[in-house]
Symmetry: C3
Subunit: 184 residues, 3 copies
């Protein structure tokens, strides 16, 4: 379901994205190519001056919530996975190839590339450089805590890529299911 916001701005969505009919997308939202937006996702840019951009090949899994404060931007770069039930709130930039885990909260942050933020963790008001890992349930709300984070290991790199690939297959699979041979 696509809705305008009170400023009468409408979502702009790539034709190659797969959007569940149960997802709710509101206002100044731009969604790139081959993005998978699962069921009950909410992507809502409706406070004055807020906007949300989701890059190419991202997946936004079930019941994820993306919203932003007035005047803020949420910018999620290519090949990033936002996993089931996580909350990403602007102002927020998330770099390429990141993974945000189940139920994690990310708010008022700059996140580098290839960062893995694990399940039920909370990341707020910090900048996280590229290739770091936030553990399950960890709370990172002070910049000095960021220094203690581990670098990403090869094992997680493989996991991260497999999530992106599995969701790109879903985009293709659901397209074929409904559009058959017309689906590229």
């Amino acid at each position: 379901m696509l809705y305008p916001n009170p400023q009468n701005q409408h979502p702009k969505i790539s034709e190659t994205a797969w959007i569940s009919e149960n997802a709710v997308i509101v206002g100044d939202v731009t969604i790139g190519e081959n993005v998978y937006v699962a069921h009950n996702v909410i992507i809502r840019a409706d406070e004055p001056g807020s906007s949300i951009v989701i890059g190419n090949n991202c997946n936004v899994q079930d019941a994820v919530i993306i919203h932003g404060l007035g005047g803020s931007k949420v910018d999620v770069k290519d090949n990033t996975s936002l996993a089931h039930g996580c909350i990403v709130h602007g102002p927020c930039t998330i770099g390429k190839g990141c993974f945000v885990g189940f139920g994690a909260v990310v708010f008022d942050c700059k996140i580098g590339e290839n960062v893995v933020i694990l399940h039920n963790s909370t990341v707020r008001a910090v900048n996280i450089p590229s290739c770091k890992v936030v553990d399950d349930g960890q709370v990172i709300t002070k910049q000095k805590l960021v220094e203690e984070l581990d670098d990403i290991c090869l094992n997680l790199e493989k996991f991260k890529t497999s999530v992106v690939d599995a969701n790109l297959e879903l985009v293709e699979g659901y397209c074929r299911l409904t559009q058959g041979a017309d689906c590229e």
Copy 2:
């Protein structure tokens, strides 16, 4: 979507509230003036003898869940914000001007006025006096832990008020969008 519960009780909703067509409200639920109920919210009073009251000028943000045990009441007082994805479960009283953060769980509690409960925290089986702050990810399930909570600082007071105001603007903005000049 409004539904009766098995006792055939129906929600009672102020005409000045804005309720997303994707919200689910069931049974003995009362919603006050200028309340904003966002997308995919569930407010469900259907166990025997349970009821839910949301006071004036509250906002119930995306995918919040409010439910109660049989015979229990959820009572959320005026000007309180229930932020994205939090869960409030009865028995539970939340005083005026509180903020419950993203993904927080509040169950079997009495919460005073102007309390700030931050993101992904868990508050259960305790009473929290007015003007306290529960930190991100904190777990407060024993009354003695409540004594160690900080008092709210002026900074959070401003944040709290800005959330309420932003959502009151949304109530007005969405009303104007759909009803134009008929919207007061």
Copy 3:
């Protein structure tokens, strides 16, 4: 809403289950007798070779998400409660009579019988034997942490049973509300 997955597999649901019209169930999913599936639940088996089975008398409360990796199975045994907003992700087996709390994450686990996993906790990559309790907010991602868990107390046993019974009453109550005397 029931949907096929890209492999064109369809959910199989017992006639005695109560499924909210707002729940989303996709693909190779089997749901047993007297199961209560609340609003905005997502049960999605759509990665190649994944499947999900929910046993008899279970309740899957509002906005729960169940999903699985390709080739994995989620197997939830009889009389288990999956409470509001929890996430269960395959590979995962959950034994009879368990309770998974609000906002909890359970992923890549074998959980025994009568285990209680409390609110906002995270349980990943471990096996938990029967009759253990994971506390609110606890993070259990290493097998050695499992050894320190408490055994379930009688008090929680009563709580656990009361949740199952309350939800079985809802299945019956909503059936009577819509089907009247035709409901057994």
